[in-house]
Each structure stands twice: as structure tokens, then as C-alpha cells.
Symmetry: none
Subunit: 184 residues, 2 copies
DNA sequence: CATTAGGGATAGGGTTTG
DNA sequence: TCAAACCCTATCCCTAAT
């Protein structure tokens, strides 16, 4: 029914590895268009590259299940630049948790399967921990909070956007006092 | 380098639908900043809203029986041990139509069969909001309240009759005067 | 500079095949 | 049976246009 299976040759696998080294994982179309690899990989699609890389990563990860393959890659921390980020400080150490919608709804489409959700559920605590441990006079800014959390824990690639939105929401709901600049 | 996918929750989808009803499609930033929805959608960007709406619209238009039957078949494969009672409600529950978005209350939970009642219960809030925002000296009359609500939200064809009955009842029970005075 | 529309790429779950 | 290879599509990304 489907297409006949095209088994990956050692040359193709080597080219894929080299492509990931050169362009990074996730840049499948870029790798494919690179003249350095297109001669070997011209039979493959960007989706093929992604799928094959997933399989290779699984094997490299001790023959675990495919779901654990995410752990294989490490991430780099972007250099934080101090500039025009807002200063924030805690306003109450209240015990009530501000939990976002994802964690509230046990029936609605959330299985115990994805890591980002767990990260989001802990964001309030992480932010408090960051501000508390940083102990910067006048509160901590967005950048240093992000840097602290990324240094202490794994963070998803779009973590800065999530954190920014979370801080904005906490400020809007009175969880944080805005010191220097106001959001919105 | 890619992005972990943040799956849309039913609450987020409901808020987006309600936001489109209120502000119109294409007003993504406006929807996002509306306090009525920001509590649910604060993790999303205006582009996220645009993308999700596109996806939802596509599904509402050309979604045949193919996908549904495929998923239905898949359901029967694992664990053929129990009787027939497990087939009841889990699956057919999830297909809500785009057309029904107009009657959704984003702040409410998700009970399936309280549509008309919920609308009427919401009328108090809508009337209050209308009088409050109109700020007409001495309170607002029926016509201007209806105009306001119809301008801000979608209203069913018989809305004027419903509103009229509601206002009459509120006046008879003293709630209307109270509202008018409170928000004068 | 901010926002939106639209095309295109990716991530991750699911399915098929040798 | 099982994993490599392939499919599906919700979500995310990039860019032009305004």
C-alpha cells in the first residue's frame, strides 16, 4: 500500500549525522539542501531525515523507548543581555498556587506524557525560587530569572516566551509588583 | 532546535472561539489582550491564535467521515475483553462544531447540555456590562442595552424578545433598578 | 516597529512493513 | 513480534505585505 521501504545506507546515515553536526538537529530541510549532503540524501525527504534521526537517537539512548529520545540532545544557553527588561519583585509569599489551565483539567486532553506541561505547572514555584535565591535588591528582572531557571533545570526551546507570558500574567493578577516598567 | 508542541486545551479552544465571536476573526492581538480571555490564553501569541483558528476552520469545513471511521476502528482493537458498555460516550463527545461556538461561555466549565439556560443566566452579566459601559445618566433603556449587547456579541434572532422578557422580570423583582442605580 | 495572512517546515503520535 | 521506515497533521516558523 505505502511506498516500498528504502533502507538507509551507511553513507546516508553518515551524511545525516554530518548534517546534524553542521546545521543542528531540526534543520532537516537545510541539511537536505546543503550541496555537501544532497548528493547522498537526494532520495530522502526532510521528514525522512527527521524520522531517521529519531530512530538513531533512540538507539543511542540505550535502546529505550522512542519517547525518551528527547533527552539525547543538550541545549545551549543564549547569553543573557541586560538591557530593558523589567524588574519584578514578589509581593506575597502566599501559599495558594496559581495553576494554569493545562494542569487544572484532568479530563481535557492532558495525558501524563509531556514534559513541557510539567515545567509549566512548576513555573510559579520556579519563579519564586529564582527571585528568592537571586536576592537581587529591588527584585529580579526577567532575564536573570530566565537564566537562573535555565541553569538549574532543563527548559524547552520556547521557554523564554512562556516565562515572559507567565510573568505578565502574574503581574496582571497581582502576584508580582511591577517596579520599573509596566507590562501590557 | 524545533519547538515542543503545546497542545491546545479545550478551554483554550473555547476561549479562542468566544474571542472570535466577540472581536471577529483576524483581531488576534485584541482577543489576546481582552481580560475576558487573557486568563486562559496567556500562554499563546497572536500568531498562535491565528494558526489555531486556521486549523479549526479547516476542520469545520471539509472533515468527512474518513478520519472518524479510522479512529473509531482503532478504538476496537486493543483489549477485547469487556462487554459493550465502554463504547458509550468517550468518543462522540469531542466533536464540537464551529457553529456552536457562538453560544459558548468561555469562563464556564464544560457541561454539555445546559446551553439555553446558561445563556439566560449570562444575561444578567451582559445587561450589567451594558449598563456599566454605556454610563447613561439615569440608567439605560431597553433599546440601548439591546444595541450594546448585539454590537459586542453575537445574539440569536429572537434576542430582543428574550432580553425584553428578562428585563421585565428583573424589573418586577427589583433587580433592574438595583442594577441601574449601582452602575449609574 | 507591530500585526496579520499565508506558505512551508517541524514534532510527535500513529501506522505499516520486512 | 518488533523495530525501521513511513504517514498524518497540529503546531510552530518565516516572510511579505500593510
Amino acid at each position: 500500500m505505502g511506498a516500498p521501504k528504502q533502507k538507509w545506507t551507511p553513507d546516508e546515515e553518515a551524511a545525516l549525522k554530518a548534517g546534524v553536526v553542521k546545521h543542528g538537529p531540526g534543520k532537516w530541510r537545510t541539511i537536505l539542501k546543503d550541496p555537501q549532503f544532497s548528493g547522498v540524501l537526494y532520495l530522502r525527504s526532510n521528514v525522512d531525515l527527521k524520522d531517521k534521526w529519531r530512530n538513531m537517537s533512540v538507539m543511542a539512548n540505550g535502546w529505550g523507548s522512542r519517547e525518551r529520545s528527547r533527552l539525547a540532545l543538550k541545549r545551549m544557553h543564549p547569553t543573557p543581555k541586560h538591557g530593558e527588561s523589567s524588574m519584578l519583585s514578589t509581593y506575597s509569599q502566599s501559599d495558594d498556587e496559581l495553576v494554569d489551565a493545562r494542569s487544572l483539567d484532568p479530563s481535557g486532553g492532558s495525558s501524563p506524557n509531556d514534559g513541557p506541561m510539567r515545567s509549566i505547572m512548576r513555573l510559579d514555584n520556579l519563579i519564586m525560587e529564582a527571585i528568592s535565591n537571586l536576592r537581587e535588591p529591588g527584585g529580579s528582572n526577567k532575564t536573570s530569572i530566565a537564566t537562573y531557571i535555565e541553569d538549574q533545570y532543563w527548559a524547552p526551546p520556547n521557554f523564554k516566551r512562556i516565562l515572559s507570558a507567565k510573568l505578565k500574567h502574574m503581574a496582571a493578577t497581582g502576584k508580582l509588583i511591577k517596579l520599573k516598567r509596566k507590562y501590557k
